[in-house]
């Protein structure tokens, strides 16, 4: 019986302290970490169309179309298929593709989640924060070439 009483006392304590753990979203939104990875933002000014992001993407979410001069024509990204691994941002040498902290996006059909270049450019920053600083990309760490011969792929 004592155990039962203890259980009931514990829940009653929680009921009476008046504190809630959940919040009234969306009026009060919990903080999103600076490193949080949300929807992508694309910068055409920066992009050099090197196609490394397309290449590294584990599940072919990014599709790039170039003309015969290798000028970029299309940059499509299926944000519903994306697994938000951030490898595209990591490989990008010019920070042309960035994952904003914006996680609030909806669509009526799955097709609406295929974002083209213009849509990707217009993705807003979450609360106006550019996450690049906090991500502190340590490029030296990943563009290393190892001790062996240099590998240009």
């Amino acid at each position: 019986m004592i155990g039962l009483m203890k259980s009931m006392a514990t829940t009653m304590k929680h009921a009476l302290d008046g504190k809630t753990f959940t919040v009234k979203y969306p009026e009060e939104a919990p903080d999103v970490s600076p490193r949080f990875r949300g929807v992508h933002k694309f910068s055409q000014e920066r992009c050099i169309w090197c196609r490394q992001c397309e290449n590294v993407c584990p599940n072919d979410t990014i599709q790039i179309v170039q003309d015969d001069q290798r000028n970029g024509e299309q940059y499509n990204l299926h944000i519903g298929q994306c697994i938000y691994c951030r490898l595209c941002e990591e490989v990008c040498p010019v920070d042309a593709i960035l994952l904003t902290q914006n996680f609030e996006f909806t669509a009526d059909t799955k097709d609406d989640f295929v974002y083209n270049k213009e849509q990707l450019k217009n993705v807003p920053w979450y609360k106006g924060i550019d996450p690049l600083e906090s991500r502190n990309p340590d490029r030296s760490a990943w563009i290393g070439e190892g001790d062996g011969e240099v590998d240009y792929q």
């Binding site: 829940t11 753990f21 970490s33 697994i83 938000y84 691994c85 490898l87």
Partner: protein, 555 residues
């Protein structure tokens, strides 16, 4: 550390043997050597599997069949039995069984190791090797009506992959329905409130008592092994381990891949990165165990129990820390081969103090869970002496993790096969001797406290780490091409137990064969042992105490 192994007479009796001594022990059974990076490999004939394995088990003390890997080469099929010792998992041996290319038949290991049952069914299902003498060789992950074996080399993806059930049914098969029978067949799942995902339990009931229960898995099968085989070592595989045990145990899973691939490519991880990995992994363990506790309370107390929400709240706190560290709440993708992707978040002091706050309030929370559930008489009535899994049975089924430790099997890879920074830190392996649902819960609750100890020590270390030595990644080539035909099996202690990865390289930048040893897969196999003869609520409780994640069972 805390407890001596319960039942390990072998430890004293069986001496450790060198590969040559083992070869001598097996004598004529060995027809060749095919050593792996982690263990000596003995090639044997396909009709001597049982003899070889039982010799190794009884005379050399290899009592843990970790996993059965099957694969197809250009000229042959191959099954690899990865054996270990529960007392010392660093002693490994691989038994390689080639099978004929045209008629891949190999003797089943099921009579020696019960765990081989499901592993061989999986090998049959995905690769197409048939196991002679297997008690129940059916498909396990794919639907019964699937055509072909998807990981075999000649598998044609363009063919219709699944036949309709009417077309598949054998018209002359006899219909087994006994009108006089006292039993009732009941489908628990695949959509049921307590199966923790899409699991289907085929249950035969006698009144309220369970006569037989059989798990039907594979509803969440994504062929993660094949996905990994299509990804490059360097980057593309790492996001996927997060999706096996997706209950926020991601870093633990990533570590399994990282450990195997780093050992395969001979990459040295900087010490600083190892400490961060250890800390992150233990945070994941707390998150995973909190969810296990929450859902177990849900299964026993019924929905609307407050315990569930309290444990979810605590998990939320640790997830917040993980989000600060990794940038994601479940699918972290934080490890990289040779280290981690980011250093601790700036400002570091804030991260340390947040973590310390969490660690400080954790003992209070755990105390509260003891008040809420473990000291509750009804809860004790429900969980003590139900779902019994004796240690010998647990070993035979290859159960690991809290399930094995709840049965008194003192087996924890963090201590027994050290990796990361674990061997430098002060912590204990928790075991309980109750072998029941209650013990498994207690093990998890105490492991949360041990993890907190580890995190606290890591935080202290990281805080004092000199700034110039904070090296988070080793210098790793941008494209990794391990030597051709190198094979390795490496395991880590994930939230649910031994999570192992077997990789065979084929000279390209993608693995030739990538095999996942899922702890949940082996643990779930023990369910009939726990459940038969018990009541329906006990089956649900036993299933909850196994703490399976279907994403990892089905992969």
């Amino acid at each position: 550390m805390s407890l001596e192994p319960l039942d390990s007479p072998d430890a004293d009796v069986v001496p450790d043997r060198t590969p040559e001594e083992l070869e001598a022990l097996l004598g004529d059974l060995v027809v060749g050597r095919d050593d792996h990076l982690n263990a000596p490999g003995f090639v044997i004939r396909p009709d001597t599997v049982q003899e070889t394995l039982s010799t190794l088990k009884s005379e050399a003390g290899y009592d843990h069949l970790s996993v059965v890997t099957a694969q197809e080469y250009e000229n042959r099929y191959e099954s690899i039995y990865h054996l270990k010792k529960f007392d010392d998992p660093t002693q490994e041996v691989s038994v390689v069984v080639p099978a004929d290319k045209d008629h891949p038949v190999s003797e089943s290991a099921e009579p020696v190791f019960r765990t081989a049952d499901w592993h061989e069914r999986e090998a049959y299902d995905l690769i197409g090797i048939e196991y002679d003498g297997h008690p129940d060789l059916r498909r396990i992950l794919l639907p019964e009506t699937w055509q072909g074996h998807p990981l075999s080399l000649d598998y044609d993806q363009n063919q219709p992959q699944i036949a309709s059930l009417p077309a598949h049914v054998n018209p002359i098969q006899e219909h087994h329905k006994d009108a006089e029978s006292d039993t009732m067949y009941l489908n628990i799942g695949p959509h049921h409130p307590a199966t923790h995902g899409v699991l289907h339990l085929k249950t035969v009931l006698d009144g309220e008592q369970v006569v037989d229960v059989e798990s039907d898995i594979g509803y969440l099968h994504r062929c993660e092994e094949q996905m990994a085989q299509n990804g490059t070592y360097r980057h593309q595989i790492m996001p996927y381990p997060d999706r096996w045990d997706y209950i926020s145990a991601g870093l633990l899973n990533e570590w399994a891949y990282a450990r195997a691939a780093e050992d395969l490519a001979d990459i040295e991880v900087p010490e600083y990165a190892q400490v961060i990995r250890t800390m992150g992994a233990e945070m994941c363990r707390i998150a995973a165990h909190m969810l296990a506790l929450a859902t177990f309370a849900l299964d026993v107390n019924g929905d609307f129990t407050a315990t569930f929400m309290y444990a979810i709240n605590d998990r939320e706190r640790v997830q917040k820390l993980l989000e600060d560290l990794t940038g994601q709440r479940l699918m972290f993708n934080y490890f990289r081969l040779g280290g981690v992707v980011w250093d601790l978040p700036e400002p570091r002091e804030e991260f340390f103090s947040n973590t310390r706050d969490f660690l400080d309030q954790l003992p209070g929370s755990v105390e509260e869970y003891h008040d809420l559930i473990t000291s509750n008489e009804i809860f004790q009535m429900r969980t003590i002496d139900t779902g019994i899994l004796p240690p010998e049975v647990a070993k035979n089924y290859g159960a690991t993790g809290p399930v094995a430790r709840g049965s008194g099997v003192d087996y924890d890879l963090r201590r027994d096969d050290p990796y990361g920074y674990y061997d430098e830190l002060e912590w204990d392996v928790i075991t309980e001797d109750g072998c029941d649902n209650y013990s498994r819960l207690l093990v998890r609750m105490q492991e949360v406290e041990e993890s907190a100890k580890i995190i606290g020590q890591c935080i202290d270390l990281l805080e004092d780490w000199p700034e110039e030595e904070r090296n988070i990644q080793a210098n790793v080539p941008r494209t990794l091409r391990p030597d051709d035909d190198a094979e390795i099996y490496r395991a880590v202690e994930a939230a649910k137990g031994e999570l192992g990865i077997y990789i065979r390289s084929d000279g390209t930048d993608k693995p030739g064969r990538f095999k996942i040893r899922s702890p949940c897969f082996s643990n779930l196999q023990t369910l009939p042992e726990m459940a038969n003869g018990e009541y329906i609520p006990d089956v649900i409780a036993a299933l909850g105490s196994l703490d399976i994640v279907l994403g990892e069972v089905d992969r």
